[in-house]
């Protein structure tokens, strides 16, 4: 196994932290992201991480915790998107764009005001690449608790959400409060994205939210299989990404390791591409076999 696992990998505390945090975030992202992909809300899922930045900058300016700032910013952004948003995908896309544009403008203002204020409290800039490897135990605790809460809420919301996502009209006819369900879901997504954006960066947060569920939706048949597949693909990408990042340290004499964000994202994209290729060829073979 030495070709895969460089010696000492599991005795490395940072690797263990990274793998642990990664598994938790990948799991909750895969579960939440399945609906994001089904509802074609990828843009919102990504934009919320950027919108959260405005909250982070606001936190820097008004002096409260960046973590809270990120989550609050993300939640407010989600609320605004849903307030504007309509069910049609294209209009939701516009709503997301409008909120994203407004929020980045606000972030520009906050960051400018921070430059002027003499406070030495650092601002939280937009975090493209957080680090899986340096999550403190206390943040790990917060993440685990919030992740569990999100999963529970998702379970409670699951059935109407699925109904609304598959057929909003039929759901409305059955008396489901479609907009309220959509709002509740977007807020759940906002918490997930806001939290994972500050902990592991917005790039990884988007990749884990969208990639594995999209691949799973191509493969899976039933809801539970698809959910399980999404989680497995997400966790797999994180696990092997962590290992690849660790190993890459030894690939060059300069010890310039590949960032773990890159490794995980590359694996997620690879999974998606492979799944697409496999699905396409098997369908073609099925079709061919019956001629």
């Amino acid at each position: 196994m030495h070709w895969l696992f460089e010696p000492g990998i599991w005795s490395n505390a940072a690797v263990r932290t990274g793998a642990g945090v990664g598994v938790v975030v990948a799991t909750v992202s895969a579960l939440v992201g399945l609906f994001t992909v089904m509802r074609s809300q990828s843009f919102a899922g990504h934009a919320l991480a950027d919108v959260a930045t405005a909250g982070g900058a606001g936190a820097g300016l008004f002096g409260f915790s960046p973590l809270a700032g990120f989550v609050i910013g993300s939640l407010l952004g989600a609320g605004a998107m849903e307030a504007i948003g309509v069910e049609r995908v294209r209009q939701r896309d516009v709503a997301t764009g409008v909120v994203l544009g407004g929020a980045t403008g606000l972030a520009a203002l906050f960051l400018y005001l921070i430059t002027l204020s003499s406070s030495s409290a650092g601002s939280t800039q937009s975090i493209l690449f957080g680090s899986l490897f340096t999550v403190s135990n206390s943040s790990f605790g917060v993440i685990a608790v919030v992740a569990a809460a999100v999963c529970l809420a998702l379970a409670a919301l699951g059935r109407p959400l699925l109904f609304v996502s598959v057929s909003p009209d039929a759901a409305r006819a059955r008396g489901v409060a479609v907009r309220r369900v959509a709002l509740a879901y977007t807020l759940l997504m906002a918490v997930t994205v806001g939290l994972s954006a500050i902990v592991i960066g917005s790039v990884l947060s988007t990749a884990l939210l969208i990639g594995p569920p999209a691949a799973a939706l191509r493969l899976g048949r039933g809801l539970w299989t698809t959910l399980a597949l999404a989680v497995a693909l997400g966790v797999g990408a994180v696990g092997f990404g962590v290992v690849a990042s660790y190993d890459s340290y030894y690939w060059w004499p300069s010890h310039r390791a590949l960032p773990v964000s890159f490794c995980v994202v590359a694996l997620v994209v690879l999974e998606l591409v492979l799944v697409n290729v496999v699905v396409r060829t098997t369908r073609r073979r099925d079709a061919g076999a019956r001629v």
């Binding site: 990828s42 896309d93 764009g97 409008v98 606000l106 310039r256």
Partner: protein
């Protein structure tokens, strides 16, 4: 407000706002906001890659913007938003890998993407005008197919319109505009103008031609008002462009709702 140090900002700002208004009309119509966000932002990796191999960053920027647009355009058939998200994160992650491998201080890489409207050199006016005209010409040529494909894709396909080719053409236009105007005026500014005013414009008129013109006019007004407000208050232009663009859309929504039915 019209002092000499602001002259270039007014000129280039107006050109960029006109282009953003025109591109944005189709972006909103086709639901391509995500691509309009992803292409310029992901192009960052190209600049990082260029720094690593030692060519001029603009080459990298254009290469990656075009690669992204091809990636997004090619996988239009199912779930284009997933393809867009994946193209974006892959490019950003590549940027991280490039930065990590070069290990130098590379703030210029990002600075290149996040231009400065108050810092437009006289020499960059001509390239921006040329590129904007090229993009405008491309949009004019694709005007009717874009409209048709956005309104009723199935019917357009029946009439023999190749949606893939059209999407690719549109994405490449977006990429060209992004790669050359973003380093000058910044991603934030261009994106805000690309979504807010065009989304507002289509609510206030039902004629496609007027909507396109209204979109460009609203976009220019938004930008002018932002520069003026920024000059008076001494707050960043980006703040005003972002919030006024969003405001324009919200105002149009309120207006149409208040008038009862859409025009």
């Amino acid at each position: 407000m019209f002092s000499s140090f602001m002259t270039n900002a007014w000129i280039v700002g107006t050109v960029v706002a006109l282009l953003a208004g025109a591109t944005g009309f189709f972006v909103v119509l086709r639901g391509s906001s995500f691509a309009a966000h992803a292409i310029p932002n992901g192009a960052f990796a190209g600049a990082a890659g260029a720094a690593l191999v030692g060519v001029t960053p603009l080459v990298g920027l254009i290469t990656f913007a075009v690669m992204a647009s091809v990636g997004i355009g090619a996988s239009r058939r199912h779930r284009s938003d997933v393809a867009t998200a994946m193209a974006l994160v892959m490019m950003l992650a590549l940027g991280a890998a490039f930065l990590s491998l070069s290990a130098a201080y590379e703030p210029q890489v990002e600075a290149l993407l996040f231009g400065e409207i108050l810092g437009v050199a006289t020499t960059s006016i001509a390239p921006v005008v040329i590129i904007a005209s090229l993009c405008a010409a491309a949009l004019a040529v694709m005007y009717r197919p874009l409209l048709f494909n956005a309104a009723a894709p199935d019917l357009a396909a029946v009439r023999g319109l190749n949606p893939q080719r059209l999407e690719m053409g549109f994405m490449l236009t977006l990429a060209l505009g992004a790669a050359l105007t973003v380093p000058v005026v910044g991603a934030l500014l261009t994106f805000s103008l690309t979504v807010g005013p065009p989304a507002a414009a289509r609510l206030v008129t039902r004629r496609p031609g007027s909507a396109l013109v209204a979109s460009m006019v609203l976009s220019v007004i938004t930008l002018w008002a932002s520069i003026a407000a920024s000059y008076q208050s001494n707050l960043p232009v980006g703040f005003f462009v972002g919030s006024l663009s969003a405001l324009a859309y919200v105002a149009a929504r309120v207006l149409t709702q208040w008038r009862g039915r859409r025009v």
